[in-house]
C-alpha cells in the first residue's frame, strides 16, 4: 500500500479545478442544469463529490429543477410482488459494505434465513431451510434476472458467482418456496441479486488491498452518460486468495485467483420505456486440494426491456445468453487398493439461452394480475474424466414455463394471492406449482401472513446421467433412469412489522412436507451399480427470527436466530443405502448478532458474532459432525477525506482455523482467520 502513495498524490494534484457537487441532471436540460449548478455553487457548497446534496441545496431549486433531478430509489418500496407475503430478508448495499464481505458468497452470511458454510478456499455450501449437502440443490439464485444454477446437479457453483460488490444494489433472500413468479428450482428458497442501474453508478470507484488469506485484490468501475438518455458503466475485479489448511496443519493447496469484468447500459428512450443491456465475463484458476487445478471461465449478455402502458399496466421482456466453462481435476476412483479408473479431468461447457415475458395489470379496483411465459434452452457438453462422467455427453434440453397470479384486495386490511406456475421439462414433462397466500395488515406497518405452496425440484443431470467411474467395466454409482422430481408442500406463517418505535422484526415459521426425495438403491444380484431413486419422504419445521434495534442515531443492532428440525425417512417397504442420512447436513440452531456503530471523524466500526450449531454430516460410511462454533467478523473504516476510505476487516477472528463443513478426518479443510486492509476511492 505504501507503494501506491505517490500515485495518489500525483493523481490528486493533477486534477484541474475544484471539485464540487453535481446532481444527476440530464444534459438535455442544460440551461436549467447550469442554473442549478450555479445556485449550488453560490450556496457555498464545499461538500465534495460523492456526497448526497443537502436538503438546503435542494430547497434552492425550482419545481422544474427538482423534477429534473435524478433520484436513487434505495428507499423505494420494493415492488409489492417481491415483497409479497413471504419470508423475505433484504441485504442492502450498506450492509454489504459495512460487513467487509469481499464476495457474494461472503455477503450471504448477512441473511439470517440462509445456512452458509465455507468448504475450502473457493467452495461454499449455501442453502435455506436445510438440505445443505455437498450437492445442495433446492435454491434458485438469480443475478439481475439471470438464473445461475448448473444443470449438472441443480446447484450453484458459488466460486464463479461474483460482482464488484460496490455496484450491487441489494440482495433479496426469500426462504421457502418462492411462489409463482420465480423460475425453476425455487424449492426451499430464492436469492435475487440486483445490481444498481447505470444511472446510479456514475463516476469512478476504485478499491485495492490485501491481507493474509485474501492476499491481494482490486476493483474499479467507471460510469458515465453516453447520450442524454443513456447511461453506462464498466467494471473489473481481481483477487488472489491463499490456501486454507487441513486439520493437521498442512496446506490444503487450494489457493486461487479470479478476474472478472463487465458492462451495463441503461437507456430511457421514452418516459415509458426502459432498456437495459448488460454483460459479464470471468476467468479463474483454482488449485484443488486433491491435486491439480480447475479452470473456470464464462460470460453472459442480458437484454431487458420494460414498457409502461399506464399506471395500471406494464410489460417486461428479457433475454439472455450465457456460457460457462469448467475444467475440473477428478482424482482416481479407488476401491480399497484397487484403482477402477485413473485420475483425469472433467470438462463441462454449458450454453444457455433464455427468454422471459411478463405482463402486469390491474383489473377493476381489487385485482392485480401478473402473468408470464418463459423458455430456456440449454446445450451441455461434457468431456468425461475416467473416474466421473455423464451419459449422454451432449444434451440439449428445453424448459417451458407459464405462470398466472392474482393478488386480490379483499378489504382495507386483507389481501389474498392465488397463483400457479406450470413447467414442462424434458425429463419429467409437466409440473404444476401452485400457491395461495394471505396477508393481513392489522395495523399500520404490521403484517401477518400465511401461505401454502407446492414446489418441485426436477431432475438434474447427476440424478439421471451420472456414471462413476465413467470408463470402467465396473460402474459403482450411476443416475437413475426413472429418477423423478422431488416435491415439497410448504405451510408457512409469519409476522413482519414495527414492534416499537425503534425496533422492527420478523418471525417466519414453516412446516414442510417432502416426498420422493433422492435415495440410493442397489442392483439386485450384482449390488452395483448403485443408482438414484426417490425413496425418501419426511418433514421439516423451523423458525426464523430477525430483529433490528436502532439503539442510538449512530448505533444499530441486528439479531437473528434460526431453528431447523429435519425428519427424513425411507418410505415404508423401500430402501436407501444411506438410510436417509445423505440428503441433509444442517445445523439445528444458528444465532447471529451484528452491530453497526458510527463514530466521530467519519469512522465506522462494525462487528458480527455468529454461532452455528453442530452440523451432522453423513457424506460417508458413518455419521459424523462438524462441531459447533462461535465466530467473529469485524471492520474498522475511516473516511480520511470525502471519497477516500481506509478500512481493516477481519473474518473468522476467534480461531486460527475452524472447520465449517466436511467429513472429519485429516483431509477436512479448515477455514483460517482472515485479515485484510483496503483502500477505496469514489469520485
Amino acid at each position: 500500500m505504501i507503494a501506491i502513495q505517490p500515485l495518489w498524490a500525483s493523481a490528486v494534484s493533477a486534477r484541474p479545478g475544484r471539485r464540487r457537487i453535481v446532481l444527476g441532471i440530464r444534459m438535455a436540460a442544460l440551461p436549467t442544469t447550469l442554473a442549478a449548478v450555479c445556485l449550488l455553487a453560490m450556496a457555498g457548497v464545499s461538500r465534495p463529490v460523492a456526497a448526497e446534496p443537502s436538503s438546503d441545496e435542494l430547497k434552492q431549486l425550482s419545481v422544474e429543477e427538482l423534477m429534473d433531478i435524478q433520484v436513487t430509489s434505495v428507499a423505494r418500496h420494493p415492488e409489492r410482488l417481491l415483497q409479497a407475503p413471504s419470508a423475505i430478508q433484504v441485504i442492502t448495499q450498506e450492509d454489504i459494505r459495512r460487513s467487509g464481505a469481499t464476495s457474494i458468497a461472503e455477503a450471504l452470511r448477512l441473511a439470517n434465513n440462509l445456512e452458509v458454510a465455507q468448504k475450502n478456499a473457493h467452495d461454499w455450501a449455501i442453502s435455506a431451510r436445510g438440505f445443505n449437502t455437498a450437492l445442495a440443490n433446492k435454491l434458485l439464485v438469480m443475478i439481475d434476472g439471470r438464473t445461475v444454477y448448473t444443470p449438472l446437479y441443480s446447484g450453484v457453483f458459488w466460486d464463479v458467482q461474483d460482482y464488484l460488490l460496490e455496484d450491487i444494489d441489494r440482495i433479496e433472500v426469500i426462504s421457502g418456496p418462492g411462489g409463482t413468479l420465480w423460475g425453476a428450482n425455487a424449492v426451499n428458497g430464492v436469492i435475487n441479486i440486483i445490481t444498481k442501474s447505470a444511472a446510479d453508478t456514475k463516476g469512478v470507484y476504485a478499491e485495492a488491498g490485501g491481507g493474509n488469506q485474501l492476499e491481494e485484490f482490486g476493483g474499479a468501475r467507471y460510469g458515465g452518460t453516453l447520450t442524454s438518455d443513456v447511461d453506462f458503466r464498466v467494471y473489473g475485479k481481481y483477487f488472489d486468495r491463499g490456501a486454507e489448511e487441513f486439520a493437521n496443519g498442512a496446506s490444503a493447496a487450494d489457493s486461487w485467483h479470479q478476474a472478472r469484468g463487465g458492462f451495463r447500459i441503461d437507456s430511457q428512450s421514452s418516459p415509458r420505456d426502459n432498456l437495459s443491456l448488460h454483460g459479464d465475463f470471468y476467468d479463474g484458476h483454482e488449485n484443488v486440494d486433491t491435486g491439480g487445478a480447475a479452470q473456470t471461465s464464462g460470460g453472459n449478455v442480458v437484454g431487458h426491456w420494460t414498457h409502461l402502458f399506464s399506471d395500471r399496466s406494464d410489460l417486461s421482456l428479457q433475454s439472455y445468453y450465457d456460457r460457462t466453462h469448467l475444467s475440473d481435476p477428478i482424482p482416481a476412483f479407488l476401491l480399497g487398493a484397487l484403482s477402477l479408473a485413473p485420475a483425469g479431468t472433467l470438462q463441462d461447457d454449458l450454453t444457455t439461452f433464455d427468454t422471459d415475458f411478463q405482463h402486469r395489470f390491474t383489473l377493476g379496483q381489487r385485482h392485480h394480475i401478473v402473468w408470464g411465459l418463459g423458455y430456456r434452452f440449454t446445450h451441455d457438453v461434457v468431456r468425461n474424466a475416467p473416474a466421473l462422467g455423464f451419459f449422454p455427453t451432449t444434451l440439449d434440453q428445453n424448459l417451458f414455463s407459464a405462470f398466472l397470479q392474482d393478488e386480490i384486495l379483499l378489504s382495507n386490511q386483507w389481501s389474498v394471492i392465488v397463483g400457479s406456475k406450470v413447467e414442462h421439462n424434458d425429463y419429467t414433462g409437466f409440473e404444476v406449482e401452485p400457491n395461495v397466500r394471505l396477508e393481513w395488515n392489522f395495523t399500520a406497518g404490521q403484517t401477518l401472513w400465511s401461505a401454502i405452496s407446492r414446489a418441485a425440484r426436477t431432475p438434474s443431470r447427476i440424478d439421471r446421467d451420472l456414471s462413476e467411474p465413467a470408463s470402467s467395466a465396473l460402474i459403482i454409482l450411476e443416475g437413475g433412469r426413472d429418477f423423478g422430481p422431488e416435491y415439497v408442500t410448504a405451510y408457512e406463517l409469519g409476522y413482519r412489522g414495527e414492534i416499537a418505535s425503534r425496533i422492527t422484526g420478523s418471525i417466519s415459521t414453516f412446516y414442510n412436507v417432502y416426498d420422493d426425495v433422492r435415495s440410493t438403491g442397489f442392483t439386485p444380484g450384482t449390488i452395483v451399480p448403485l443408482y438414484f431413486q426417490n425413496n425418501l419422504e419426511g418433514h421439516t419445521y423451523g423458525v426464523e427470527l430477525s430483529g433490528n434495534y436502532q439503539v442510538l442515531e449512530n448505533w444499530s443492532l441486528h439479531a437473528g436466530y434460526d431453528l431447523l428440525e429435519e425428519t427424513l425417512h425411507v418410505k415404508p417397504g423401500q430402501f436407501d443405502l444411506n438410510n436417509a442420512l445423505n440428503e441433509t447436513a444442517d445445523p439445528k440452531h444458528q444465532v447471529s448478532i451484528r452491530s453497526a456503530l458510527n463514530l466521530p471523524r467519519e469512522v465506522e466500526l462494525d462487528a458480527t458474532l455468529r454461532w452455528v450449531d453442530d452440523l451432522h454430516i453423513n457424506n460417508g460410511a458413518t455419521s459424523a459432525t462438524v462441531p459447533s462454533y462461535f465466530e467473529l467478523g469485524a471492520r474498522l473504516a475511516w473516511r480520511i477525506v470525502t471519497g477516500l476510505e481506509l478500512s481493516v476487516a477481519g473474518q473468522n477472528l476467534l480461531h486460527a482455523e475452524h472447520p465449517e463443513y466436511g467429513f472429519p478426518g485429516p483431509n477436512r479443510i479448515e477455514i483460517g482467520r482472515s485479515v485484510y486492509g483496503k483502500i477505496a476511492w469514489r469520485y
Binding site: Q70, G203, A220, A444, R682
Partner: protein
C-alpha cells in the same frame, strides 16, 4: 499477516482510473424521499390555504405523515427552522386518520392504500392537501401524486379534488405537472 502486496496490473488499473477521473465529473443522486420531502416543503409555498384552515393566527403549519413514514429524518431536516407566512413548519406522524387534528399537508403512506377511500371520506370538506405516491390503482381522489418515473419525480395533480378542499394551487406547480382526474375535462 503477510505483507500487503499490490500486483503490477492493479497499479495500472488505479492509474487509469485516476486519469479518467481527472476529466469527468461525478454525480451523486439524492434519495427519492429526500427530494419528495423537498416537494412537500414547496407545496406549503405554492398552495393557498383558506384562513379557516388554521385554528389560530399564530398556529403552526403542519405537514403530517399517515402510516409508514418513508422519509426517515429527511422531512424533519427539510422543514427545520422554516416558516410559511410566518407560521413555523412542523411535522406530525399519525397511525390512523382519527389522530389527525390540525393538519395542512397530509402525506399518505403506501401502507394506507388499502384503506384510502375510508381516509379520504374522513377528510372530506377539510382543507388538507393530500399527497401520495404512485398507486397502481390510480389517482382515487388524492390531490397530488409524487410519481417516481424512471428515477425522476413527476407531479400528478387532481385540480378538482384540491378545489373541493378549498385549496388553490399555484400555476408554478400546475405548469410542470400532469393534470388528472375530473379536472381534466
Amino acid at each position: 499477516m503477510a505483507l500487503l502486496r499490490i500486483p503490477a496490473g492493479l497499479l495500472w488499473l488505479l492509474l487509469a482510473a485516476a486519469l479518467v477521473a481527472g476529466t469527468t465529473r461525478a454525480a451523486t443522486a439524492p434519495s427519492e424521499y429526500q427530494v419528495k420531502a423537498v416537494f412537500l416543503f414547496n407545496f406549503a409555498q405554492f398552495v393557498d390555504w383558506p384562513a379557516e384552515a388554521f385554528p389560530r393566527p399564530d398556529a403552526p403549519f403542519v405537514i403530517g405523515v399517515l402510516g409508514d413514514d418513508p422519509f426517515g429524518h429527511q422531512l424533519d431536516e427539510v422543514v427545520r427552522g422554516e416558516t410559511v407566512n410566518k407560521r413555523p413548519l412542523v411535522v406530525e406522524r399519525y397511525h390512523s386518520v382519527a389522530e389527525i387534528r390540525d393538519c395542512n399537508i397530509l402525506f399518505i403512506g403506501s401502507t394506507e392504500s388499502g384503506r384510502l377511500d375510508q381516509i379520504l371520506t374522513a377528510l372530506k370538506g377539510r382543507s388538507i392537501l393530500t399527497v401520495g405516491d404512485a398507486d397502481p390503482a390510480g389517482q382515487r381522489g388524492i390531490m397530488i401524486r409524487l410519481v417516481n418515473q424512471n428515477n425522476r419525480i413527476r407531479l400528478r395533480i387532481d385540480v378538482a379534488a384540491a378545489k373541493a378542499g378549498n385549496l388553490t394551487i399555484s400555476s408554478k406547480l400546475l405548469r410542470p405537472a400532469e393534470i388528472v382526474g375530473a379536472g381534466q375535462g
